[in-house]
Amino acid sequence: MSLIRTPVKIGRAFSFVDLFLLLGLAVVIYALVAVAQSWGGPYRPKTEIDLDFVSLLGYAFFSLVRVTAGYLFSLAFTLVYGYMAAKSRLAEPVLIPLLDILQSVPVLGFMPGLVLALVGIFPNSNLGLELAAILMIFTGQGWNMVFSFYSSLKTVPTELRDVSRLFHLNKMETLRKVELPFAANGLLWNSMLSMAGGWFFLMVIESFSLGNKDFRLPGIGSYMAVAYEQGDVAAILSGIGTMFILIALVDRCVWAPLVVWSERFKMDTSSRGIATRSMVLDWLKKSRFIAAFDERTSEWKFEFQKRLTKLSKKVWKPSLNRRVRSSFPFLLRLVLAGLGLAILVYGIRSMAILLAATPGLVWLGYLRDTFFTLLRVTAAVILGSIWTIPLGVMIGTSPRLTRKMQPVVQVVASFPAPMLFPILTSLLLVAGISIEFGAVVLMVFASQWYILFNVIAGATQIPRTMLDVAEVFQLRGIHYWRSIVIPAIFPSLLNGWITAAGGAWNACIVSEFVERGNQTVAATGIGAAITEAARAGNFPMLAGAILMMVTTVVLINRFFWGSLYRMAETKYRFDG
């Protein structure tokens, strides 16, 4: 399937868009070479960061590569994990709860293991450290994509399933022609969220301490950390500005065209569209290059597809499949299940040994810390809702505002709030607000966007007729909200709350513990406890604190959000 399909006007001149494309290609190639040199270079755990502007551009690029690599890894992981979870009746009951647990483990929980293991594997180059950073980025962004893909696979309409069976599409073709396109919209929106998630923890990931060792990778996150450390206001401001521009560029050049392009993957055309044009996509359509490429390859594509079909037919021969399934894979499955069990038992055992070293008093402290963080998370979600719900409904119910504001909201929301935390903390301290309460404000910054996004999405889907009804019957104020808006957006709002709460929990490690220059400010909370344990290199305490937090989050998800969700599913639905 080609990205752009336009009739080619033969003999069209080389446009300046093509020139741009060529220049862009050259820059990308050069930059990738630079990246390769840096990654393959001799092992340097702590890069010296230059605070001048030209270096900043380079750092920004390095960070972009890192986050992109993390995203691509997330995408690959999503496709494999989500597909397995949706298709294997055996794997599903294991994979989905596991995902629930994994997504509530904060980035710092994965850090020591990843860093120590990968630096151990590549002791002489930066590759290990870079890979560790990429995988850490992945642990902060991958999960929501998997959930989205999984639920899309589960909700492919029966008739499309029937069509794919009736017309003899094999599994590969069904995935390519039916399931992936059906999942595309959800995947795309979650990709944008994930990318933002990648930027969010950049500072933590690029510059961290583990035990008595400091690690620092060349990147804009490290740049900001150093700038704050040295109190260089000019550097701080240019860092923030660069970050904004970078995010806006990615949004305009990558996401906006993709959003427009992905319109075709929508099953219905009824909801008011968000974006219908993208400047970049329009430019790309002008490219003689791409058009010619598209035309030239149409026959190859057919041949390729034919080969592919033939190949996958061979691989998935139904008769073979059935035979194989009945005898040999049973053993394979047994071995796999045994292996999984062994890993589980081993993990629990080593965890138990690790945790046994933690005295009971510490556990009691963790219990208190977790309770404090829970209060903060709740406060953050409530505070975040107060302004995002009215604004989101306003934007969502007006097509004009949706078109204008959506891109702005997207860029603002993608900006990694932790880069502003030191400034915010200072402001709060000046205002006489202690970090115990200030951390709530920081958490709001980390989580409010999820609510806003979801409310906008929910509001755009309020049927036009509903709004007309409100107007005809002159529903205003409390009545308008109670009888139209809240029921209509409730499922999306709930989604927003769940994601926001998750985001706030994950952000507690950066909001309850803030570095300002050379001093650190910590609140009483499980996030601060985790960060302190990681910095001290105290692995038993780190494990204990993370276990505490994960257990709490999973329990809350299961019982509190879970029951609300079921209510929303049965009560608030527009069916036709």
Partner: protein, 450 residues
């Protein structure tokens, strides 16, 4: 094709029942004892209210659903997996919105291993057939409902199916377009050179069923079953103002509103409009009972109240009614109101001696369309013999839901009595009488002598 000998239907559903599993182990039965066969070259429709299992039935035909009980025969072979000879058009179109018209139409072609040229020509052909030329590059969302359904039809036609199944194809299409597309579907089916041999259509629109199909299976609900089958042999194109069409519509109306066939009868009977000359359904009575009835009637002066008659013959009323009906089918008696009286032919019959009676009786039996049909089947089959099962299978087309074993026995009894049929009960094979087969010219002689 060994199986072809016993069943020449393109597709046959045999004693299909189906249940869906609900939560907490509960079951809901959606189909009960469905027997349907699709013959080559016909258009059949499944008519009924929603929720009576019509769609489930076609999904079973397509192999999309495995029935809980019974089997699907495709050219006499049990179907396993997806039915390769069948293609389907969906009510909601079920197009892939991310593909162009062309890509949608090509969906089922990739696995056929065609060359690029064959591939393109198949797509072009299917698109032309439904009149979508020029829209190859359009996306479904740019098209109207009618156009989208054309894409659905083209997609089904591109794989050159033997049976084209349409699931309420025009219910999401505006009225005028639907009218137009109905005749287009018939045109496609009538083009004998093309692969489509038979069409199966699900509909809840009586008019649509009557205008388009040759046989109409009327479904009832709870659980889904076939209530009756109506035959409509009127040629195409059909005129909706035709009185016969109107009558057929009325008959179906009465069936659906239970005026004609009360739902409590476990075994649905046949409802047909008066003009329809189908095969006679002989009640389970013996030839001697018919002749006995004629004797009784003769004693009573050739005219008798039907209740009196039942009293006189000391038989159960229903049975004597059946005997009377058979006598009527054979044109011995007529039944104005509650009276039973001789026809001229009947009067002639009772006056004749036994040899003459034999000839007269034989003439009447031979005149039955059902006997003629049996004789034609025998003539066409190798060795002029057909197995009992095969006869019953074929009769199924005409009398679904009848107890065909008993009909077969009745036919054999009458055929033997009239000496036009012979039956080998050991081998369960129906044949022509010996003499008849070897010395055609002496048939009359032997008849007279015996």
């Amino acid at each position: 094709m060994v199986a072809g000998k016993t069943n020449d239907a393109l597709l046959a559903l045999e004693r299909i029942s189906h249940s869906f599993q609900l939560e907490r182990g509960r079951e809901i039965q959606v189909l009960k004892n469905i027997n349907i066969s699709v013959q080559e070259g016909e258009i059949v429709s499944f008519l009924g209210p929603s929720g009576c299992g019509k769609t489930t039935t076609i999904k079973i035909m397509a192999g999309l659903i495995r029935p809980s009980e019974g089997r699907v025969l495709c050219h006499g072979r049990a179907l396993s997996g997806i039915n390769q000879r069948l293609s389907m058009v969906f009510q909601s179109f079920a197009l892939l919105p991310w593909f162009t018209v062309e890509q949608n139409v090509s969906l089922g072609l990739h696995h056929l291993g065609l060359s690029h040229r064959q591939f393109s020509s198949r797509i072009g052909e299917a698109i032309e057939m439904v009149g979508l030329g020029g829209f190859e590059e359009a996306y479904p969302r740019e098209l109207s409902g009618g156009m989208r359904q054309r894409v659905g039809i083209a997609r089904a036609l591109a794989v050159r199916p033997e049976i084209l199944v349409l699931d309420e194809p025009f219910s999401a299409v505006d009225v005028l377009t639907a009218e137009n597309m109905r005749s287009e579907v018939i045109d496609i089916w009538q083009e004998q050179s093309k692969a489509v041999k038979s069409v199966v259509m699900v509909t809840h629109d009586i008019y649509e069923a009557v205008m388009m199909s040759q046989r109409i299976f009327v479904f009832g609900a709870d659980p889904g079953h076939v209530r009756t089958v109506l035959t409509n042999p009127l040629p195409y194109p059909r005129d909706s103002k035709d009185a016969k069409i109107q009558e057929l519509i009325n008959v179906i109306h009465s069936v659906l509103t239970e005026a004609l066939i009360p739902e409590e009868t476990e075994r649905p009977t046949l409802a047909q409009p008066s003009w329809y000359q189908g095969l006679e359904n002989l009640p389970a009575v013996s030839p001697s009972e018919v002749i006995g009835l004629l004797e009784v009637l003769d004693d009573a002066g050739g005219k008798m109240d039907i209740f009196m008659l039942a009293n006189e013959t000391e038989s159960e009323f229903g049975h004597s009614l059946a005997v009377t009906k058979t006598a009527e089918i054979l044109d011995f008696v007529e039944t104005p109101k509650q009276m039973v009286q001789f026809t001229d032919f009947g009067r002639k019959f009772v006056r004749a001696d036994s040899a003459e009676r034999k000839i007269l009786f034989s003439t009447q039996v031979k005149a039955l369309r059902i006997i003629q049909t049996l004789l034609a089947w025998l003539e066409q089959s190798p060795n002029h013999e057909i197995e009992r099962e095969a006869v019953i299978n074929r009769l199924q087309t005409y009398f679904p839901n009848e107890k065909l074993d008993s009909l077969f026995d009745t036919l054999v009894a009458f055929g033997r009595y009239a000496e036009v049929l012979s039956y080998n009960a050991k081998l369960d094979v129906l044949t022509l009488p010996e003499e008849d087969r070897e010395e055609d010219e002496f048939v009359m002689d032997t008849d007279v002598q015996s």
